[in-house]
Symmetry: C2
Subunit: 498 residues, 2 copies
């Protein structure tokens, strides 16, 4: 048995090495590559992915898992061995259930979908994109059928991104969150002019912003000796290895745009740096789930980075780099970075209204995958829903249904991870604050104890648990929007005075 | 037959994709990677190399080549098909002749050798490095035996790096070059104080140097839309794809250190950008040889970059960025960048004495591989030879026998490529100048016609010919040091006045 398990680990390592190479190629593509390098890059990426899929779905893996099933049952499912086998089985089953030609077809449709989406968004015309989206929805429905599901096809896709979730659960969680959120949104919407962030807009030295961003990473405990920060059009994090974690950020039209991008990616980066090096390349050597990953990024971006204690500590550094703002108080900054704008664009949304964007996308993609909404009707339904919630419809498809990249590929089922991340983050903070040092630190602007707590309870557990399991283990319950709602309520009531 | 050939191309493409991924990983390692990323990077690189070796040396390749041998004979060996089969056969035979455990052993010995060399150089102690070097020499002798050779084991290694060369030929070429060179060196050595480059030393803005380097790349025709320039500890060029060519440079203690590094790598880069995109991934989709590659880098670094017409054109840009040097004339710059220093360090050597370093290394590694020189005697022999040629022995092993990285791995046989590159470059210039536009351009500081000529006659031929074959085709003869000697003689007689 031990030999079979070692063989399984060797296969996992091969997959990790192929994934590692893909990761480096992908990072370089977004950070350094000239556009004329694209043909070779796309081909090399596809080749490595195909090799990995061949290895993962080989009969040998099935036989090893079969052999090891008794051995596995005799073990704690959250022991290293138990979790390795379980995670490998999950990956293997997903890989073999989807036929090779469907995989290839999805890959082609994604490439074409992405290119068409770029053009359609440019033209602000959904009509251009509709045929590709129809094809993508169809292929994802086929994948859902092949994978099998709990109650409805969309469940299969949700489970791909956040293990153990399903549409009814997501709807229940979103509803609870929405019920608590909407009254707050309405209160704030009547007082939008109470917060001013105009002093953050204008022309600020990029060199100084860059230094400030590096200091922010140091401040939250990201180890720049074991990683780096670069620029890219869309910020992202690549954890190649715990000792080599790459973050990117981008400058925006506000002084703090890059800062919050950096803090967000820094949160992802802390997770990647905190994974146990010894487990690298094993099935459990990675994060528990996407939702859990998002909990860490939202934690450092919002719960920490938009908190008053953070600004009390960080304010002198901001003024050091931007002395022209020295007449602005800590309080001015704290309020400005928490300004609610009710943007129709998800990636520009403030903390309060961000999840409204997710509710909309989740519900529409659920209906499309389950066959209750036709692609051709999507823009109309989208625009009506936006009008109902935000009080105004999008000016055009570019700031409406075409704004996100996700539907141009095969990522339906991904959006809810963002909301889970938000919800998890406050559940985790609630648990972490039971540690007095963490609570005192957070109140005083010293976030090292919080970082250590996350490292011990979340990062170091790597993939021993699924995201939902780890949440349950650490907080004693499943996804519960109440701590998140309580946090938002307290914060925005105080800032907007209602 | 056509089907077998297509299959061969498909295998070549797989090898190219694996090599491509290794290339990106290697570039990133030297440009971006934090040192703590090394363990995963080394493992991933070794894994990709092993996969490529498995594919190249598989019986299937042997069978395809066997099947295609008649087809090949019916074709021009320099047609696309003929050259593809010939190049694939050469690679295949080298791959299968060296046993897998010898390959693995060489890889391990290289890694250990490199680490030990770093430490030994730091300590300036050859004794520390000697056991590793003994092992490396032994393994390379085994490889030479396995590969087979013309007259002596070292021939096998030379042929690895520059197809068709062998020790007796290299010695003959080096002797001719040396005979012409030494009288020049002696003349110049008596007049070293006639040229002053002290004004190039000091503290110059790196930002301004960077801009100047970018302009130099533009000036020689390197397309920065299809590549980029970065910094690394050791300058190098990675041609991932004709549309994605990466150069690196480094700042030195002279204003022009980075500039000449950049021009050197720019020459390599022009070759890589000039390879036909349609042939990428086929056996002929790469440069003719290392020596031919080096001819292009030395061409742009020295023959162009250290010429008077180059400085007449480039001088205003230098003064634009460094107005503090405006009292210095074009002539001051031209003389300064051609100053002979007789450095004992190869990588710091001037154009005149550079090849003396190669003669020394070539002769010593030849003796070691052929069993005529024991590793333990190496430093003594080295130091005596240096004293005889340079007039003074190295102060310690660090500036002597330990100075180069090559012997810490399995690169014996590589050094002569540098001298071939120098010799080729002037033979090519002689041929190119028969084109009037090229000659006039070079005299007037317009190097575009020269660049176009090289693209047409060298770069676009890619791997249809070996380096020696291409040289013969383009210049009508084999390696001939006379044009190079005539060039050096005219240049240094004028500068040093003898």
């Amino acid at each position: 048995m031990e030999a079979s398990f070692q063989k399984l680990l060797a296969i996992s390592r091969e997959l990790a090495l192929l994934g590692y190479a893909q990761g480096v190629l992908g990072w370089d593509e977004q950070v350094n590559m000239p556009p004329t390098g694209a043909p070779a890059r796309a081909e090399a990426g596809a080749y490595l992915a195909q090799k990995a899929h061949e290895i993962l779905s080989s009969p040998q893996v099935g036989e090893l898992l079969e052999k090891l099933s008794g051995w596995e049952k005799a073990r704690d499912p959250h022991s290293f061995e138990g979790a390795c086998i379980r995670r490998m089985r999950r990956n293997y089953e997903k890989a073999v259930k989807i036929p090779a030609d469907l995989v290839a077809e999805m890959s082609r449709a994604s490439s074409e979908g992405f290119q068409t989406w770029l053009a359609a968004r440019q033209e602000q015309s959904f009509r251009l994109f509709a045929p590709k989206l129809e094809r993508l929805v169809d292929l994802q429905r086929q994948a859902a059928q092949a994978l099998g599901f709990r109650s409805e096809p969309y469940d299969a896709l949700l489970d791909l991104f956040e293990e153990g979730t399903y549409a009814a659960l997501v709807e229940e969680v979103c509803q609870k969150l929405e019920e608590g959120l909407m009254p707050l949104v309405h209160e704030v919407a009547q007082r939008l002019d109470r917060v001013d962030d105009s002093f953050l807009r204008g022309s600020f030295s990029k060199e100084a912003q860059w230094q400030l961003n590096l200091e922010a990473l140091d401040f939250i405990g990201f180890d720049r000796q074991k990683g780096r920060l670069d620029q890219s059009a869309h910020p992202f994090t690549s954890g190649f290895y715990p000792g080599d974690v790459r973050l990117t950020t981008r400058f925006g039209d506000s002084l703090t745009s890059a800062l919050f991008s950096t803090l967000h990616e820094g949160g992802h980066g802390l997770y990647e740096q905190g994974l146990p090096e010894a487990w690298w390349g094993t099935p459990v050597g990675e994060a528990a789930s996407l939702g859990m990953h998002e909990s860490q990024s939202r934690l450092w971006e919002n719960v920490v980075g938009r908190s008053r204690p953070f600004w009390e500590r960080f304010y002198p550094r901001v003024i050091h780099y931007f002395p022209e703002l020295k007449d602005r108080s800590v309080e001015d900054f704290y309020r400005a970075v928490n300004r609610v704008e009710m943007s129709l664009i998800r990636v520009e949304a403030d903390e309060l209204t961000y999840n409204l964007h997710i509710f909309l996308r989740f519900r529409l993609e659920r209906q499309m995958i389950n066959g209750q909404l036709e692609v051709k009707d999507l823009p109309e339904v989208w625009n009506e829903a936006v009008k109902a919630t935000w009080g105004r419809p999008p000016a055009h498809d570019g700031e409406g249904v075409l704004q996100d990249v996700h539907w141009s590929g095969t990522s339906m089922g991904y959006f809810p991870s963002y909301t889970f991340g938000n919800i998890y983050s406050l559940q985790l903070v609630e648990a972490a604050r039971k540690d007095e040092e963490v609570a005192r630190g957070m109140d005083e602007g010293n976030f090292q104890p919080l970082g250590r707590w996350m490292r011990e309870h979340i990062h170091q557990k790597a993939g021993l648990y699924s995201g939902l399991e780890l949440l349950e283990k650490v907080t004693g319950r499943g996804p519960d929007p109440q701590p998140y709602l309580a946090y938002l309520r307290a914060k925005y009531q105080e800032i907007y005075g209602f």
